[in-house]
């Protein structure tokens, strides 16, 4: 378990982390989201004792991380896949880390197999792709078989098969009762592997809830209906109290009626349906809405954008 209590980190006049109180529980994959510069990496570094907080505290299993004598047994971390010496090979890199924590050579080979690097473990890391370095970083995090795992942007550079592998691994680690805390600035990555979400904006906690609760924030659940006679169907549905909005391509966006009821009504009035889809709010949109006010490096359109999508 990771516990942050009124955690604050200032660099001069910039506040990177602002009064963050948070508990990350075992048995779940907790997504740690926020735009670039929101303070995610700083928070992870503070949890690992690499940066001292200005005030407040961070503990791993109730103990300040710097007071754990052997870090790898308490928390495994992938902070930046580039934090390696390119001149060393993967086996030597992991062996040095393992040796410092009294972990045997056998374990190094185990994690190399686990992440799929066993065949290239003797090659210099300098020649690795970003995806291979991410795998190496994940291997290092697994070395001590720790109850807490922290991953900063672990999907960067992984190919689609690698992303799926990493997702499955994160879920499996959580299912084993570990605390898995994964940062990302892309909601789409979290959608398929996180159970809980923590959202940060400008160093402040914006949301801390389950994925389902977060999705409900979008509030745009509706049913998309396609029919050759949209005007007739719209009249029928409006008469039943539904809200109907026309979208591009003759699609009707219906709110206030469930898909089965819409289908029944269409049949009763002899109107053919070509498509009937229940749409939940996109997590991506919920995330964008939530963090719109706290984007650190937001771009401004250079010229007025065509009407429609402007917010």
């Amino acid at each position: 378990m990771i516990a942050l209590n009124a955690l604050t980190k200032r660099y001069g006049r910039t506040t990177a982390v602002d009064d963050l109180t948070l508990t990350v529980r075992p048995g779940h994959v907790t997504g740690f989201l926020g735009p670039n510069g929101a303070g995610k990496s700083t928070t992870l570094r503070i949890i690992l004792g690499l940066t001292a907080p200005t005030s407040g505290s961070a503990t791993v299993d109730g103990v300040r991380f710097r007071d754990h004598p052997r870090g790898l047994h308490h928390a495994g971390a992938l902070l930046d896949a580039g934090d390696v010496h390119g001149g060393r090979n993967a086996r030597a890199h992991l062996s040095a880390l393992a040796r410092s924590n009294d972990i045997g050579r056998g374990r190094v080979e185990e994690v190399l197999r686990e992440v799929g690097l066993a065949a290239v473990a003797g090659r210099r890391i300098g020649g690795y792709s970003l995806g291979m370095r991410q795998r190496l970083g994940i291997a290092a995090a697994l070395l001590g078989d720790p109850p807490v795992l922290l991953f900063d942007e672990p999907f960067n550079g992984l190919d689609p098969a690698g992303v799926r592998w990493a997702r499955d691994l994160l879920r499996r680690l959580a299912a084993q009762g570990r605390t898995v805390f994964v940062s990302s600035h892309l909601m789409s990555e979290m959608e398929h592997c996180a159970d809980r979400l923590v959202v940060l904006g400008r160093g402040r906690l914006v949301a801390e809830e389950s994925l389902a609760a977060f999705a409900a924030r979008g509030g745009r659940a509706d049913v998309a209906v396609r029919t050759p006679d949209p005007a007739a169907l719209a009249a029928v549905l409006t008469a039943e109290g539904a809200g109907v909005r026309r979208e591009d391509g003759g699609l009707l966006a219906v709110t206030g009626l469930a898909a089965d009821r819409i289908g029944d009504l269409a049949l009763a009035h002899g109107l053919p349906l070509h498509e009937l889809t229940t749409r939940t709010a996109s997590l991506e949109e919920a995330f964008m809405d939530l963090t719109a006010d706290s984007v650190e490096y937001g771009g401004r359109p250079a010229a007025p954008v065509a009407a429609g999508e402007q917010r």
Binding site: P69, D80, G82, A96, D102
Partner: protein, 286 residues
């Protein structure tokens, strides 16, 4: 299929190895040893130090034997067989290469970001730094002793041709060998200290070189205080320890350094460099 995932849900912190136990210093030393020997640059740099020490000694000794027949008796009497074994250019090279080895050992770990992973694994930064210093000092001392012994042997064997050799039991011989050998770890540790303070390899190499090689040239021995400062420089100390007898009568040295003072300079720099390295690494966030 998934050996990395042997944990049962809800199990505490029982994992691989022992968890609550304090970190063992010998494990940290072993880890630093793996790091050091797994880099090709280590082998190259240490190999170059050995080759240059022996090669330049042979070159200097051969120059002596070649010219010996044409030398006047006075020139012959001034010849130092110890100086042939450890010529200035060899020490220049040793200082450059060894300080670079020390600089890269620390600066490279800051530059690559590896220190973040190292300290996440072992939060006790001071202990990690001490292990690093110990490994570096041990390895460079071994290289220095090996290189100095070989350089002395090769030079004296060559000088035997003209009967200008010296024995290891002659006065000052062992002192010169030891001083030349220890110049390797001394330079390496000064390199680590500068890198721990500067935290970038390239500027640290420049700073260490300036400190070791350029600064002493700016100091003369005309005044008592400048002489004292000069004597406190590692290169000046090495030069003093290489003197086997009294300086020639026409050189006036009102403030000549003592042998004990020169050894003190060696010891002082070593100690300060080691402590600075540990303290700076302990203090700075990676």
């Amino acid at each position: 299929m998934t050996p990395a995932t042997g944990r049962a849900a809800g199990v505490g912190t029982e994992g691989t190895g022992t968890t609550g136990a304090p970190v063992r210093f010998r494990d940290l030393v072993a880890a630093e040893r793996i790091k050091m020997w797994s880099l090709r640059s280590t082998w190259w740099a240490l190999g170059l130090i050995l080759v240059s020490m022996v090669g330049l000694a042979a070159y200097a000794a051969l120059a002596t034997t070649d010219g010996w027949a044409g030398w006047s008796p006075e020139q012959r009497s001034l010849h130092s067989p110890l100086g042939d074994a450890f010529p200035d250019e060899a020490q220049l090279f040793v200082i450059l290469a060894a300080s670079a080895v020390g600089t890269v050992a620390v600066g490279g770990e800051y530059a690559s970001g590896l220190f973040r992973g190292t300290f996440a694994a072992v939060p006790h930064r001071g202990a990690v730094a001490a292990a690093k210093v110990l490994v570096l000092a041990t390895v460079t001392t071994a290289v220095g002793v090996l290189g100095a012994a070989a350089a002395f042997t090769v030079a004296q064997v060559i000088l035997t041709d003209v009967g200008a050799q010296m024995s290891v039991t002659d006065p000052g011989a062992l002192r010169g060998i030891t001083a030349s050998a220890l110049l390797v770890p001394l330079s390496a540790l000064i390199g680590t200290a500068v890198a721990a303070l500067v935290r970038h390899s390239a500027p640290a190499i420049v700073a260490a070189t300036a400190l070791l090689l350029l600064l002493p040239t700016a100091l003369d021995e005309d005044e008592r205080w400048t002489a004292m400062l000069r004597h406190a420089m590692p290169v000046a100390a090495w030069q003093r320890l290489m003197e086997t007898g009294e300086p020639p009568p026409w050189i006036s040295l009102p403030y000549r350094a003592t042998v004990g003072g020169a050894w003190g300079t060696y010891a002082g720099w070593t100690l300060v460099a080691a402590l600075l390295t540990v303290a700076a690494i302990h203090r700075h966030d990676p």
